[in-house]
């Protein structure tokens, strides 16, 4: 099931080398230190987009990832600031909490399909934003600010993760941790897609009734997938809040939810790495176009429209013919 070809191994090796050695070298050579923040954001948004992609995989259009990213960010911030937890423990806690919420909400709304599901998840983003404004624990519109940097973790006296506050270059540290998280996420995603569960998901994507009729427990699978997807969203959001050191109800809103969806579409829905590529291009492209000033949005949207006009199946569809599906 997981037999990589030599070509794929080389590709993955090159990719890892590029992000862990190549990018820092290029950045220190060009002096564009701001790219660290951009690339860290790309990595984290790619994690959340991976979740959206996974819900696409069972044939649901998810425009609600912003909701789970916001939930994750708030859970982590509250645990760190108010309960004094270490960030590294609050991170999985944030993911698990987002997954729990996804299970509760998913039970009714996963019965919806097509545009109905898309629209209800869009509304869900708005619900979470408004809830964050209304609840006392989230501090309303003021949000939670001055979240401490992640502290160190050591096991039996051996430091596993250094203390971020004691570091002089937190940007690099955040970059590395975000990249590691992203790689773990995509490895998990790849493993999931190529497992028995992944095959069942594909059967659901094509025809739920048919899948159900041959004994696939579709209600169970779609809850599990939605929970995993929201777990990714929660993790990405929590890490984002930690880097920004603040969370506001507007940290993730409807526009972000739509962007997560666009990342998946743009990269191509048929490929595990699609959302990663889509996030990189959309977010990085937006950043690069910043120099155009008031024409930034215009040029960005024209490029976006042109891409979808001429490559409606995503950027990766360019190499569709090679049969080199990853």
């Amino acid at each position: 099931m997981l037999n990589f070809s030599a070509k794929q191994l080389v590709g993955v090796g090159l990719f890892l080398f590029a992000i862990f050695v190549g990018v820092p070298l290029i950045i220190s050579a060009t002096g564009r230190w701001d790219f660290y923040f951009t690339l860290t954001s790309v990595a984290l948004l790619a994690i959340a987009s991976a979740g959206v992609w996974l819900t696409f995989y069972i044939g649901r259009i998810n425009i609600g990832q912003g909701a789970f990213a916001l939930i994750g960010a708030y859970v982590s911030a509250i645990l760190v600031v108010k309960a004094g937890w270490s960030f590294w423990i609050s991170l999985p806690a944030a993911g698990l909490f987002a997954a729990l919420v996804a299970i509760l909400i998913g039970l009714p709304i996963l019965r919806l399909r097509g545009v109905y599901f898309a629209m209800i998840t869009l509304v869900l983003t708005q619900v979470v934003t408004l809830t964050a404004l209304a609840l006392p624990i989230t501090n309303g519109a003021k949000g939670i600010s001055s979240i401490p940097l992640p502290s160190g973790v050591s096991l039996f006296g051996i430091p596993l993760i250094p203390d971020f506050a004691a570091m002089e270059n937190t940007k690099l540290a955040f970059y590395y941790s975000a990249c590691i998280l992203m790689i773990v996420t995509y490895a998990a995603l790849y493993r999931l897609v190529n497992s028995r569960l992944g095959h069942l998901c594909r059967s659901m994507q094509q025809n739920e009734e048919l899948a159900s009729s041959i004994g696939v427990n579709i209600a169970y699978i779609r809850i599990v997938i939605f929970a995993i997807s929201s777990f990714f969203g929660g993790i990405g959001g929590a890490m984002f809040g930690s880097i920004a050191q603040s969370v506001y109800p507007s940290s993730f809103q409807v526009a972000d939810s739509i962007n997560f969806m666009l990342n998946c579409f743009l990269g191509g829905l048929g490929y595990v790495v699609g959302p990663m590529l889509g996030t990189l291009i959309l977010y990085f492209g937006w950043d690069l176009l910043f120099e155009l000033g008031e024409y930034q949005l215009l040029v960005y949207s024209i490029i976006l429209i042109a891409v979808i006009r001429f490559l409606p199946n995503g950027l990766l569809s360019l190499r569709l013919g090679k049969g080199d599906q990853k």
Binding site: I61, L133, F265, P312
Partner: protein
Amino acid sequence: MEQILANGVYLGSQYAMIALGLTLIFALMNVLNFAHGQMYVIGGFVTYTFYGQWGVPFVLALAMSCITLAILGALIEKFLFAPVIKGSAREESTMLLAAGIAFLLDALILLFFGEKQRGVPKIVNGVFNYDFRLIMPYDRILICVLAILSIVAFIGLMQYTKTGRALRALAQDRTAAQLMGVNVGRYSMVGFALGAMLAGLVGGLLVTITGVNLGMGGPTSIKAFMMVMIGGAGVISGAIWGGIILGFMEAIGLAVLSQYGDITYLLIFVSLMIFLAIRPQGLMGKPWG
């Protein structure tokens, strides 16, 4: 109480028109038009330019809004949606296109009209006052009547003309309509233009009361989605019901819940989710639309 009901009718008639355009486009092409709110904003700005700045009579300015948006809608359908729908492996790709168009329209509005809030002089002065129990400015009443008339005209168009029949056939079954000799490509374009035109018309009507600004597009789209979900996607009567229900909920919520802070919309959203969990296809919708 009378005041709440009157506000409900007023809001509901506006909302129903916005939802009608969205649901029409959805019914015809299965496209979730993210750019609907932006089209509404453009309609508002066109009326503002003609009526507020150049002093053209209001009715003509309104007509200009309709024409501009109809042309814009037709062009978007012909050169963007139609080819993408044809070439795409999945129908959902149109969502990406719709979102891209929403960004593009936002950018164009920013470049042409700026980001300031714009308003126009009142079309009629005076306030209707019934014993201080029901207070309604005359221009709101006029706009409300105009909106209801437009809805009636739209239903008439859909029910009794050849175009309307073709559009309804198209919404029911695309292939069957084509086999019956309906020019599918042309009527898709007409339908999209009509939907965009409705958005422009509401924008032009509402600019006289609420004014218009760049940021209104997104929230308007979300409200339109909610109305369509309440009524059922792709069903004309559903869109009207959805608009009226949302208008009344908003009017009642703002009147009753104002002391608890800004929780009206939170409650509306939550009740919508509960409602959809019980009845996924909305009030009038076909299952799995």
